[in-house]
Every structure is written in structure tokens, then in C-alpha cells.
């Protein structure tokens, strides 16, 4: 693709003013949907994404139920006004693929054998899209699953790295995704040191592959801290205040 403008300036700053290793502002609110068993709202740069979890609950249709474990179902969906040009609300092939890789990135973290014959449904709704919506969606869904009290081995944190102006940078935004050279979304379980999502779009030199992977994993570890903080705030936030009042 012909480069229209430089995405990194002479001081090493990116178009949104970030350095190469800087994450966009991430804010996670736990319990954003009242009716859901677990939920989270994430703002990841300009992304605004809602994740809601229902379950474990009865499986419909019943023949989908598994005798030894729970069925995990995932839907990634973009609302029509979330993009620059209106998006047809019907699921696109892109959304079908993302729903699948999202489910497969969350499943290694869940103890599905704890809930035989049941289903857990994860709904991820992109209300406003920016680059890296699948990463933000996985991050929010994982917090929502924890909020629903599902047994988990670890949280799944997700972040992309990529190549922009021949440099490997963390957390690609929309412009960098469209005009940059490569995008590698990764999901990672930091406590278990396991990669649960790995995709790559774009060209990387052999030595850049490892660099990009390591950078993305580093980003996942930063996101992990924000996830834990959000859950602590939701469950222990008031308690700390109360304790202070008592004292």
C-alpha cells in the first residue's frame, strides 16, 4: 500500500501521540448490564464494547448439550452505527470468524467440566469500533466471565502488536491498522503463560515475528493488571472504604 503519511514522527511519537510501547487508555467497568449473570464494559482507545455472560444455564436446543462438560457459545457483533459507514446488522463472515476465535481464546481459561449439560453464552457487542476490537472484546468477555462467577484457571488478557513505518509497536489503533504493515492480535493467560489467540495480518521479517509476539504478550500483561483492578474495584472497592470509615 502506498504510504500517504508518516505514522511515526521524527520524535518516535505515533499519530495519537503514543510511544512505541504505550497502550491506549483502557477503562473497564464490571457489572455494566443488570440482567446478565456477569458483564463488563470496556473502553479501549475509542472502542466501546459491552460483554455480557448468561449461564451456566440450560442448553437450547437440547441436543447441543454435552454429557461431560459445558457448551461455550460466543457471539461477536458490531452494531450498525459502530463503524464509519453503516454496518449491515446481519453477521458478516468476519464476525463469524471472530466469534469463533474469541470462543477458542476464552475456552482454555474455563473449567467447563464443572458444568456438564449446561451452556454459557458470551455476547460481545461493539458499540463503537476502533482498531483492536477483538482484543478489547476478549478482554471484556473474560472479565464478564469472572464476574459471572464461572470457575476459571486464569483471566484471558488480549492486546495486539504490529508493524508501522517498519517499527514494531504495541496496540495498533484504527489508522495504524488500515495504513500500517502488520497487525498481530494476541490473547494470553499471564499466570499460565499460555497463548490462546494468535493471528497475523501483514508482512513481518523473520526476526520481527518473535519481537512482535513478545511485545504483544507484554501488552497482555499490562491489560491483565487493569482487568484485576477492575474486578477488585467491583468486589472490594466499597469494602476498603467501609473499613476506613469504621477505623
Amino acid at each position: 500500500m502506498t504510504q500517504i503519511r508518516n505514522l511515526i514522527d521524527e520524535n518516535g511519537k505515533r499519530i495519537d501521540g503514543r510511544g512505541a510501547d504505550e497502550l491506549r487508555t483502557v477503562k473497564i467497568t464490571v457489572g455494566a448490564v443488570k440482567n446478565a449473570d456477569g458483564s463488563a464494559f470496556i473502553e479501549f482507545g475509542k472502542n466501546k464494547i459491552l460483554a455480557a455472560v448468561y449461564g451456566p444455564r440450560e442448553v437450547h436446543p437440547k441436543h447441543m448439550a454435552l454429557p461431560d462438560r459445558c457448551v461455550l457459545r460466543c457471539r461477536y457483533h458490531m452494531v450498525p452505527f459502530s463503524t464509519d459507514t453503516r454496518k449491515n446488522p446481519a453477521p458478516s463472515r468476519r464476525e463469524i470468524e471472530i466469534s469463533k476465535v474469541m470462543r477458542e481464546s476464552l475456552e482454555p481459561a474455563l473449567m467447563l467440566q464443572d458444568y456438564p449439560r449446561a451452556a454459557i453464552d458470551v455476547f460481545v457487542e461493539v458499540l463503537q469500533s476502533d482498531g483492536g476490537s477483538r482484543c478489547a472484546g476478549i478482554t471484556a468477555a473474560s472479565v464478564a466471565l469472572a464476574d459471572a462467577g464461572i470457575s476459571m484457571h486464569d483471566l484471558v488478557a488480549s492486546c495486539a502488536a504490529g508493524k508501522v513505518d517498519n517499527r514494531i509497536v504495541l496496540d495498533i489503533n484504527d489508522e495504524e491498522d488500515k495504513e500500517g504493515q502488520a497487525d498481530m492480535p494476541v490473547a494470553y493467560m499471564p499466570r499460565l503463560e499460555q497463548v490462546t489467540l494468535l493471528q497475523l495480518d501483514g508482512r513481518l521479517a523473520p526476526e520481527q515475528f518473535d519481537e512482535c509476539l513478545e511485545k504483544a504478550i507484554g501488552g497482555c500483561k499490562m491489560v491483565y493488571e487493569i482487568q484485576k483492578q477492575a474486578l477488585m474495584q467491583r468486589y472490594f472497592g466499597n469494602e476498603t472504604e467501609l473499613r476506613e470509615e469504621v477505623q
Binding site: E104, L197, A205
Partner: protein
């Protein structure tokens, strides 16, 4: 195959113990080493009605790809490039577990991963496929049909796509009185690189290149890595398990080494054709 269908493949589950025993001795059930691929046979120009075609056998997995070239409007935002679309379907002939109907998510993923490899490698110089900038461009459809499924559909479909594109004869279209006319001549495809996809499956701590259907039924996770002559261009982790960063780096190394052999084979087709 969705996971519910997979769980009905009882034979494979019964062989899981046998597979473990073999793997712990450093061998696979079909006698291959961990990094050994199955025999690859590529035939090209098998469908005369297509502008290019290829039939690939990777072990018992068999895929046929056909290229159809036409003209049309460019994609939005890519006004000065020809359009290239790769799609795939798994025919009901391919296995007892496949039913006719709209593509399920596994087939959608297959088509998108193969398309991504070709697109991101910039295999075809699409800027050379423009007739009227912003208005009329060449449209290249590559349709892949899986005839028999015995594991690793990703690589077999990718090789069929690349082989069909490499050996395609592109019709020369011309503009006459603002209309597109087929001149009757052909030209070779403007090829800039040859993408090669290599897929590995992890079963426990073992990482196996080019998994068979039996191995896929036992696998924890799967990874597909596509390389060009210069480096990496696409990756997809699939299935419900995970990988350690080290396993991924080793798979990337294997994809580079194995990719070279397959690339040499694919490039041989191009030479024979030209």
C-alpha cells in the same frame, strides 16, 4: 466440523491411547516423524473451463481450486487495485460428518485464512490489474472445493489456491468505446511472491506438522503460519487449546524451513507452465 460433530468420531477417541503411546516413542500413528509432512501431489490445468486450476492431494486430503477472471468495480477504498477473492467450501463428498448447506464457522474460517495468506503476501500485483482507474478492474475469483477431508484442509486449500493462481492464464481485456472487450489473448498472472502455509497441531506437549484427521480429532490446538520468500505474512491459531510462546516460535521456525520445500515445488509449476 463443529466440536459436537467431532465428539461423535468415536474411533479416533478409542485410538487416542494408541496415539499417545506412539507419540511417546517419537512416532506418529501413520509412521511419520513429528515434522514430516504427507506426500504432496499437485496437478494443474485440470479444469479447462477455468482460467487456471489445480488439484492438490496432501496425503488423503484432496482439494480442487479453480480461478475465474472477469471485470467489475473495484472494492471501496482500493479503487486502483484489481479485486481478488478466495472462497472455499467443503463438499458433502468429503467426509461422512459433512452435510450440505451454508458454510459453518469452520469453513468460513478456512476460506478467510487461505484468503488472508494470499492477500497479505501480496502474491498478485493487483495494481497491474486495473482497466479504468477507480471504475473497472480485473476481478479474480479463486474457488476451492474440498473433495476428500483427511485433516489439514488449511494447507491443502492454500496450496491449491496458490498453484491455480501461479498457472492461470489471464485474459487480456481492452477498453473499446467505453466497453470491456476480451482480446482473445492471454498473459501470465503478475506474481510477486509465493505464499506457503504450514499448519501444526499440538497434542499434549507434542507439536505435529501437517496433522491428519485422526490427529486433529485428538489435538488440543492448531496453528497455521504462512510465509513468503521474505518472512511471515499471516498466522492463525485455531481450536480450543493454547500454545506456549516457545511452541509458537518453534512452529514459526518449522514453517520457514518446510515452507521452502513446498515453495520450490510450487515454483516448479510456474516454470513448467511458462
Amino acid at each position: 466440523m463443529s466440536s459436537s460433530k467431532r465428539s461423535t468420531i468415536i474411533v479416533e477417541h478409542l485410538r487416542k491411547q494408541q496415539m499417545w503411546d506412539a507419540l511417546s516413542r517419537g512416532k506418529r500413528l501413520d509412521g511419520r516423524d513429528f515434522s514430516e509432512t504427507r506426500p504432496l501431489v499437485i496437478e494443474t490445468d485440470v479444469i479447462k473451463k477455468a482460467n487456471g486450476s489445480a488439484r492438490v492431494k496432501l496425503g488423503d486430503t484432496e482439494v480442487i481450486a479453480g480461478v475465474k477472471v472477469d471485470t467489475g468495480e473495484p472494492f471501496e477504498g482500493l479503487e486502483n487495485k484489481g479485486a481478488l477473492i478466495v472462497s472455499a467450501e467443503v463438499l458433502p463428498t468429503a467426509s461422512p460428518y459433512i452435510e450440505p448447506g451454508p458454510p459453518d464457522e469452520e469453513v468460513v474460517e478456512l476460506a478467510r485464512v487461505v484468503d488472508r495468506g494470499v492477500r497479505e503476501s501480496e502474491m498478485i500485483d493487483l495494481e497491474k490489474l486495473v482497466l479504468v482507474p477507480g471504475k473497472i478492474v480485473y476481478t479474480i475469483f479463486v474457488d476451492c472445493s474440498v473433495l476428500n477431508a483427511d485433516g489439514n484442509l488449511f494447507d491443502a486449500t492454500s496450496y491449491a489456491t496458490v498453484a491455480a493462481l501461479l498457472t492461470s492464464k489471464l485474459p487480456v481485456f481492452e477498453m473499446q468505446d467505453e466497453k470491456v472487450v476480451d482480446s482473445g489473448n492471454t498473459q501470465p498472472m503478475p506474481v510477486t511472491s509465493v505464499p506457503v502455509s504450514i499448519t501444526a497441531a499440538r497434542i499434549g506437549d507434542y507439536v505435529l506438522i501437517d496433522p491428519s484427521a485422526e490427529e486433529e480429532a485428538c489435538m488440543d490446538s492448531r496453528i497455521t503460519i504462512t510465509t513468503t520468500e521474505e518472512g511471515f505474512c499471516a498466522t492463525q491459531k485455531g481450536y480450543t487449546g493454547s500454545f506456549t510462546p516457545d511452541q509458537i516460535k518453534k512452529a514459526a521456525e518449522a514453517a520457514t524451513i518446510k515452507g521452502k520445500d513446498v515453495r520450490a515445488k510450487l515454483k516448479g509449476l510456474e516454470v513448467n507452465n511458462g
